[in-house]
């Protein structure tokens, strides 16, 4: 059975103009990114800071315009939809942010905060509103007697629960989770991760889960897209990415994670140098300035995205089955 593609991202580019006297320069935040999100799955987007994860998330929700490419939601090309055209779709797509402080108005109570999307959606009856808010609070694990409190009275984990309640309030199909647990302590992080997973099961949600943390991504995601400097370097099922990573960057990322009980630290491939700037990114393969196995060809030619089978793709000159193996 063909799985439904809930979101399709096609050759997406986002160039930000950057200040510079006279000369016009751009930061290539996204430079030709394509992937699909299937209904009901959790797609993980992983990569180091600045690689374009947040930009992808915001572009899909049409919170920012794009330079080139297309975004499809269900069967509609929404790339150039007006705000008015977007309105009926807004209830279908929601976002949870890393810093729940940023998006919670400090003057509003928990009730106001969670009721707001419900009101926008046309629910007016006071009784009904209150009982729906209480229902949502219970779902996300907030005590009912917190209903009249303000965000500052809560810990980071509890504020994240408020943000989640707001996001699921109007039964969206898609939730973009942008580093939702990155600011939380491990014990609270685990609680929120379990909650996110539980809600998916109960509501059949589809997630785009953005994180720089490979451990969290592995735990939550079905399929994974690895990004580097505005491009996708590898994508595939979780098993493919974690058991048989093909791209040198993915391998280095995995080996960089400090793991309890692993002796990886002793044999780790340490990438040299810094992530280059998205203004004038490296020619050829963008990763070649740091790649431990780069060749001359890598500095000149953009690598193709090689289909390794079973939905596993790797964009490297040397990861294909029939290309010369240099490792």
């Amino acid at each position: 059975m063909e799985q439904e593609k809930l979101v399709q991202v096609k050759n997406l580019k986002k160039y930000y103009p950057v200040g510079g006297m006279g000369k016009k320069k751009v930061a290539k935040a996204l430079d030709g990114v394509s992937f699909d999100i299937y209904a009901g799955e959790t797609l993980g987007l992983v990569g180091e800071s600045g690689c374009g994860k947040t930009t992808v998330g915001r572009a899909i929700l049409r919170l920012i315009s794009v330079t080139e490419g297309e975004i499809w939601f269900e069967d509609q090309n929404i790339t150039n939809y007006s705000e008015k055209q977007m309105r009926p779709l807004r209830s279908q797509m929601q976002i949870i942010f890393q810093d729940p402080y940023g998006c919670l108005d400090p003057r509003k109570t928990v009730y106001d905060l969670i009721a707001a999307p419900l009101k926008l959606h046309g629910l007016k009856d006071r009784e009904e509103l209150r009982s729906r808010v209480l229902e949502l609070m219970e779902e996300v694990g907030l005590r009912a007697d917190y209903i009249d409190r303000y965000p500052h009275e809560f810990s980071g984990g509890q504020r994240q629960r408020i943000g989640i309640a707001r996001a699921i309030a109007i039964n969206p199909r898609l939730i973009v989770c942008d580093e939702p647990v990155s600011a939380l302590d491990v014990s609270v992080q685990a609680q929120v991760i379990n909650l996110i997973r539980k809600l998916q099961k109960e509501h059949g949600l589809t997630y785009l889960f953005i994180s720089h943390d490979l451990r969290v991504i592995k735990h939550l995601c079905d399929r994974i897209v690895v990004m580097y400097l505005g491009t996708i370097v590898e994508s595939g099922k979780k098993e493919d990415i974690y058991r048989t990573p093909a791209h040198p960057y993915t391998k280095a990322l995995l080996s960089a994670v400090p793991e309890i009980g692993s002796d990886m630290g002793k044999t780790r491939t340490i990438l040299q140098g810094d992530i280059p700037s998205p203004i004038d990114p490296p020619e050829g393969c963008r990763f070649h300035t740091r790649c431990p196995v780069a060749t001359e060809k890598c500095a000149k030619e953009i690598p193709p995205c090689v289909d390794l089978g079973g939905g596993h793709f790797c964009c490297c000159h040397y990861c294909g089955n029939d290309s010369e193996n240099i490792r």
Binding site: E48, V186, S187, V188, A190
Partner: protein, 328 residues
């Protein structure tokens, strides 16, 4: 047993605030041997940074103060030293690295000037010679083209490069003790790997003793010889890295270990520690962990457990290892 460089005895550090007295560090004791790395781990607010600031005597007084205990550095009690004497210790014997490199760097001086200053002040070097030493230090911490980078201002460097500069400044005086408070938390994972590798290599080379503070148990596993687990201002478990990771004793340590998703783990559901870290102003009676502890009994609600040595060198602050527990 090696030579003890630092011995902290029953350290108590408090903050007076509008909400009352916050016992941020509440009676901690530990020893650090020469050349070894002590890892301190715990969730935010557990007192890790206050511990390091206390050792450095960098608390914001008078709101924060050391209310009791001793910090014996090579036998000398730092708590009793004057600010002037402390400045000498800080410049020449103990250095500290913070999470955010910019807190240690001055944006209006080049990185070369900032490193050179250490040599000019400490070793009374001439400007030219100090500059040469600064270039050497930059090379030591792995900064490419140090001869040109030496004239860069901090904002011209990436986050990872800045943290390298901070390490260069911290090591310029060849300290006996380096305290690193979440030195890689603000960095990307591949850059974190670089910095941890650098710190390991430098430590081997320079034989510096180190206190490594982090919330990441994976980093502790890689870096530490000895481990302290902190909760609400107290040590709840301490011991060698091997002991703490492979034979953990305290329910909090156990909870922490199981809440981390791991690369090598396929579990669907993460186990969690219920609830949240309590406020320092409303600490639970008895064992501070009892409201969240799956093993808690009545005893835990009333009696505060002591840090007991359960096996040689391995301690746990939990009634489960006391005779009272066996008696029921």
């Amino acid at each position: 047993m090696g030579e003890v460089l630092l011995e902290v005895k029953d350290l108590r550090t408090q903050f007076s605030t509008e909400h009352g007295i916050a016992p941020a560090v509440d009676g901690i004791s530990f020893q650090l041997e020469k050349g070894k790395t002590l890892g301190i781990v715990g969730e935010s607010g557990s007192g890790k940074s206050v511990t390091s600031l206390s050792i450095m005597r960098l608390l914001q007084e008078p709101a924060g103060r050391i209310a009791g205990g001793q910090i014996l550095f090579k036998g000398e009690d730092l708590v009793k030293l004057s600010e002037k004497e402390m400045q000498n210790i800080r410049g020449a014997h103990i250095s500290m690295i913070f999470q955010e490199p910019m807190t240690a760097l001055n944006p209006v001086y080049t990185v070369g000037e900032q490193i050179a200053k250490v040599f000019m002040v400490r070793q009374k070097m001439k400007k030219k010679q100090a500059r040469q030493k600064a270039i050497e230090m930059l090379a030591l911490v792995g900064i490419p083209s140090p001869e040109t980078r030496v004239d860069n201002y901090p904002h011209q460097l990436s986050g990872g490069m800045r943290q390298r500069v901070v390490i260069a400044i911290a090591l310029a005086c060849n300290p006996e003790l380096l305290i690193a408070d979440e030195p890689t938390t603000a960095l990307d994972v591949t850059i974190q790997a670089q910095i941890l590798e650098l710190m390991k290599n430098l430590q081997k080379k320079l034989k510096t003793s180190m206190i490594m503070i982090t919330h990441d148990l994976g980093i502790i596993y890689e870096m530490a010889d000895e481990v302290l687990v902190m909760y609400c201002g107290q040590i709840v478990e301490s011991g060698s890295m091997q002991e703490v990771f492979h034979h953990m004793l305290h329910p909090y340590t156990e909870g922490l270990m199981h809440s981390i998703p791991r690369l090598s783990d396929e579990a669907e559901e993460l186990s969690t520690i219920e609830g949240i870290v309590p406020s320092l102003y409303e600490l639970p009676k008895g064992c501070r962990f009892h409201p969240r502890c799956p093993y808690a009994r009545k005893l835990c609600q009333t009696e505060e457990p002591e840090l007991l040595e359960v096996s040689p060198g391995h301690c746990s602050r939990c009634h489960r290892y006391s005779d009272m527990w066996k008696e029921g």
